[in-house]
Amino acid sequence: MTGYFLRRALGAVVVVLVLSAVVYATFYIAPGDPARLACGPRCNPEQIRQVREQLQLNDPVYVQYWHFLQGIVAGHDYSTGTGVLHCDAPCFGLSYQNNQQVTDLIIQRLPATASLATGAMAVWLLLGTGTGLLSALRRGGATERVLTWLTLAGTATPVFISGLGLLMLFCAYLEWLPFPSYVPLTDDPEQWAWNMLLPWAALGLLESAKYARLTRSSMLETLAEDHIRTFRAYGIAERSLIGRHALRGALAPVIALSAADFGSMFGNAMLTEMMFGLPGIGQLLVTSTQTIDLPVVVAVVMVTGTAVVIANIAADVLYAVADRRVALR
């Protein structure tokens, strides 16, 4: 088991490194000169030259990338003009835009994204998986139909529409909820939850249909398997059959996919974050992409990538735990 985790951890490091290199290279060749963008709208050539030098953009791209990696491992000292700024490891450098430490920028934004991802997962597990189970076990009911349509509508609606719809309905017309304005969990748990309700719903709904369908087909699959049918032939009560035996196998892929999706929410929920004004990591990624703020872009991608990779390991482990037929290897 230790060997397994070591191997996976090593794999994770490789994946994140490859990812960071690919992103670094892509944004390096993408149009837009970071020095010019950092320099301001009407920089003259001399000024651009100075800024380029100050941002160390004159080195070849692989040297820049290497410095970037060095900073992560060993930290980095920067001149502020008047003094020295110690950027301790893991140091992802300074933002080209305003010299802020990228590590700080990310740490400030992680809680919002984590809150969003956690709640959205709860929604899709409850709503999506619930609908799926319901439709696998008692098809044709009115509840199931309503839920199925709801989740389908969720999949078919971009979050910038469903989010707006939810905002308008609950905040503007009904005034049941305040317009979301992120409150950290540590400041006020109750306010945190109220403000996160709509973002959770919007993002969770989007994912729910996928889970409903996955759960349904997985459940039907499991119910048709030999051991279940054998149990059934022995006359074990349906409730216990499903609760004790079928559910576990049927939910294995659901849990595995949930873990993976949870990880990917860190980098892919930017539209939801922007819609609801959540100061999350996706928003940071989008804004820094626009200004080719390379250290921020690459650092965010590395962090979100790490989240995904860890989530994937968790997914595989959970799958193996839930479904004994699958071994870790």
């Binding site: 149009p31 920089c43 003259n44 050539p45 651009i48 008047t82 305003n98 802020q100 317009f179």
Partner: protein, 571 residues
Amino acid sequence: MRQLPLISRRVAAAAVSVVLLGGAAACGPKQGGDAQGGGGAPKKGGTLTVLNRAPQKQFDPARLYTSGGGNIPSLVYRTLTTRHRANGAEGTKVVPDLATSTGTPSDDAKVWTYKLKDGLKYEDGSPITAADIKYGVERSFAPELSGGAPYLRDWLIGGDTYQGPYKEKKGLDSIETPDAKTIVFHLKKSEGDFPYFATSTQFAPVPKAKDTGAKYAEHPVSSGPYKLVKNTGDGEQMLLERNPGWSEETDKERHAYPDRIEVKSGLSSAVINQRLSTGSGADAAAVTTDTNLGPAELAQVTGDKKLADRVGTGHFGQTDYLAFNPKAKPFDNPKVREAISYAVNRTSVVNAAGGSSLAEPATTFLPDQKSFGFTPYDHFPAGATGNPAKAKELLKEAGYGDGLEITLTHSTAQNFETSPEVATAVQAALKEAGIKVKLEGLEDNDYDEKIHSVDKQPDLFLAHWGGDWPSGGPFLAPIFDGRQIVKDGANFNTARLDDPKVNDEIDAINKITDHDAAAARWGALDKSIGQQALTVPLFHPVYKRLYGKDVKNVVISNWTGVLDISQVAVK
């Protein structure tokens, strides 16, 4: 929803004027109208909430671009001069701020002298000195603190090579401080507009002992009515509270009614406008400093009397236009450029830009405001909906009687200015004249870099331009001064016009320190350049913004076109 676009727009900020708005706001009463919103006289107290899209990423006075750095920075940084906080045209005037006057010129406006007022203090109670202003100007030359306007480098003697006080401790000899209250600037050439430029935050005092270089923006030392108490999430959430060191007697312009100002940004424009219109809780005392009403929201607001009363309208000096490269075929032929000028249907362009309430058709390059020297002309009258017959005739004369195929470059950002909708409207109009237009939509960064690069510049593209201050100089010179063709940097003279007569006239007007006299000459210059059809002016945008129910004393000047946050009261 233009939440994305707004980000791209911030980048498009590279277009000067937009930066200007980057930190600026807008909403208010009808132009020139009296303060509106809520009854009774404005009183001190309360908390003003600011709901914004873009976080205030830059807060260092050296790195901000526009007059006062926009709205919020102008609450923290006082400058030598400042814009007059008044409605409409009155608000295009420049007035003293830290200085006792807008400046005393000598030597043909090459030397500018300022005296500081008495009793000026920082938030910590220490006195503001002329040396601090000199230091503030100098540090804006440091590459660590880039971002400001180019004028200091272009104008100050020695400015072109100076690298800031961190690398060159000695400082700039062209800024003298004979005593603690006097500061003298020595310029390379005559600049009658210097008082307007002195409204920039580079002219805000920075005490050398408190300067922390690149980290200064985290804890800047306030000279204005508010100090920065909290700045988290990279300028996304900010809290400003009263600065005890500021005294109203020395500051005629800023009122500072609210006790606290809370800035919440990172919101989408749809959400901002919805919150302002609903106005529940703290949102009743809220404004936005960066989000206009879009066409759809306007359609909704105009149908609701109560909401319509809470819309502020402003006119910022800006022109949106078609830019040619007259060095490239077929635009090297003036007849082709004229034909396109005739063919343009400004009604559909204005509709694509948000309709007649958000854009006014333009036939002049200068904005239609007196302070810029607006002189009406319409050299190639296209009427309201274009004159395709005349355009066809000209094309025939130019040898394109069988039709013409051209490419129009635009940005993919949905900003209602250089966006696909406007490009499509131009495309549809030119089709009537037998011109087939291929659209080339570029991602905003790409677009911005290409249109300002001498080598990669498209031959025909949508562009916009706004004044760094309300005067003809900063509006015309960067676009038409032949000596401002920038090879390796950001070039704005996209027509590459290098006409000695135009250059000389620009120099001559720059010597004039009487604004009205200069304005008349700028207007005449614009009219004469217009005959060459180097651009096709399309429209001047109009800014409309909502403000909260409890917001009082809304002032919108034509300098910024947006509500002035220093005037707002919530009690």
